[in-house]
């Protein structure tokens, strides 16, 4: 029996890529005959870690294919042609309407991705969903097979590496309060609402503050331009930093310099940056949408509505009140335990063993 991981694109450093590589390592450690096949392999993926899908051998009924779905691709429709038991790992597909007016390519890929997920509803034997929110979506799409929730495997060891000294020194210990949000510049992540809340905080509570939007905007240039213009029209252009694509050591530096993590995203399948903020002991303020509440698991500070001025008040309140800040951090630390690599790895292998065992009994 072989366990094959299949996906359209494997990129180094993104949540799906990290999850696939971590699963691969776990499977090998547990003694499975396993490999990763993808249509597109990122340049920074270690050589030999993944092979092109054209090199995938013919599978038989005893094999297990773990298919990672996160976007539109013909592979969504070709999956049923492969023999073997099929496990879907559903990372969620952003609703295409968010990209309306910004990117026709993203709009189409997301629309096709959701259609592909619906197409597979009656062709999958077992699902793993990154969050309860993702599980609910699968149910709404018509999936009737067993669905278990399994958070993404996060490489926390990588976050212990050395941060970029120059960036860290530039933004630390200068008397400024640093508010951070990490994530691709994308309309579903609503960076405009982060900017609006920061503007009110900067205007009414703390002029010595800056907002660091850490994320790549490739493919979303028009949305990025609009955000930059927004910050300019609000009069806070100099206080808002758009990092664009930066090295991992710089990302670490931004996290280490941050005082508070602010998330106003309206659609997330899991939101790895929340777990990252927990790791770096940064209090989180986040809007309650999609998978945010699940990932926070009762920790952080959850906002029920988007009001820039009220959010600014929350930021100020948390940063000035040590006991509230400490309570938030304690809660986050406890929640982080649920995402420890060993915990998720053990659950993944147990889920797989259960599935193979169940299926063999059938």
């Amino acid at each position: 029996m072989r366990v094959i991981q299949l996906l359209t694109t494997i990129s180094y450093g993104d949540a799906v890529g990290n999850d696939v590589l971590a699963m691969d390592a776990s499977l090998k450690k547990a003694g499975y005959d396993t490999c990763i096949y993808a249509e597109n392999i990122g340049k920074r993926i270690p050589s030999g870690a993944a092979k092109h899908v054209s090199k995938m051998p013919e599978t038989d009924d005893g094999d297990v294919i773990i298919y990672h779905l996160s976007t539109g691709t013909d592979l969504n429709y070709r999956l049923p042609e492969y023999r073997g038991k099929k496990i879907l790992v559903y990372h969620n597909v952003t609703p295409h309407t968010y990209f309306s007016g910004y990117s026709q390519i993203a709009w189409q890929l997301c629309r096709d991705g959701r259609n592909g997920a619906r197409f597979l509803a009656d062709k999958i034997d077992y699902c793993l969903a990154d969050s309860e929110y993702n599980k609910e979506e699968l149910c709404e799409m018509g999936y009737r097979c067993r669905i278990d929730v399994l958070p993404i495997l996060i490489p926390f060891d990588d976050y212990r590496k050395e941060p970029n000294r120059k960036t860290l020194e530039h933004y630390s210990n200068d008397g400024y309060t640093n508010i951070i949000f990490t994530g691709r510049i994308a309309p579903n992540k609503c960076q405009e609402d982060v900017i609006a809340a920061f503007c009110q905080y900067h205007r009414y509570y703390n002029e010595k503050s800056r907002l660091m939007l850490v994320g790549n905007y490739e493919g979303m240039e028009s949305y990025h331009e609009r955000l930059v213009k927004y910050a300019e029209m609000l009069g806070i252009k100099e206080s808002v930093i758009f990092t664009g694509h930066i090295g991992f050591d710089e990302i670490l530096a931004y996290y280490r310099a941050a005082d508070l993590f602010l998330c106003m995203s309206e659609h997330e399948g899991f939101c790895v940056p929340l777990a990252e903020a927990m790791f770096f002991d940064i209090p989180i303020v986040a809007f309650d949408s999609s998978a945010i509440a699940y990932t926070l698991g009762g920790s952080g500070f959850l906002l029920k509505k988007k009001d820039p001025l009220e959010t600014a008040g929350v930021i100020d309140h948390i940063l000035k009140n040590d006991s509230i800040r400490d309570s938030i951090l304690q809660g986050q630390k406890a929640r982080l335990e649920d995402f420890r690599h060993e915990v998720i790895e053990e659950r993944f292998l147990a889920c797989l063993k259960d599935f193979i065992g169940d299926d063999n009994e059938k």
Binding site: T97, S100, G101, Y102, S103, Q104, W107, Q108, R111, E192, D193, I195, A196, C199, Q200, Y204, E221, S222, E225, R226, K229, Y230, M233, L234, G235, F301, L302, D307, P308, L309, E310, G313, V314, H317, S323, I324, S327, I328, Q330, G331, A334
Partner: protein, 136 residues
Amino acid sequence: MEQINVEEIMDQIRREIKEKGLSSEMLSFDDISMGGSDKGPSEFDLAYFEDKINQVNQGYFVPVIRFYSGNPIKVLIKKIIRKINSCYIVPIMADQNKYNETLMHVANQMELYIEQNEKEKEALKKRIEELEREKA
């Protein structure tokens, strides 16, 4: 671990905002134009067309009054310039909005026409299939 009472904190913040008389008025992101870099698909795409019609319906009316923020002196100067130009700008904006509204109605009619045609096409297809089955 001490649980924080979110509602209590929010109530306190709202009271403080009221007491300090802080204004929540600010420039909306919706007031920043989207620009024209998205060229669209090279072939007719019904879903894309419907999405654009939606955008037209939502955005056809351009408000004359915009919120200004930033340096109070600059804001005052902008407001004065706006007042001086209003006798020229307001009628032009009114004409532009009227034209936009007309185009919106045209676009909606086109959408209805396409929908109607698609339904008729489907009905004709079904009829052809029935006739072919009968013939066979």
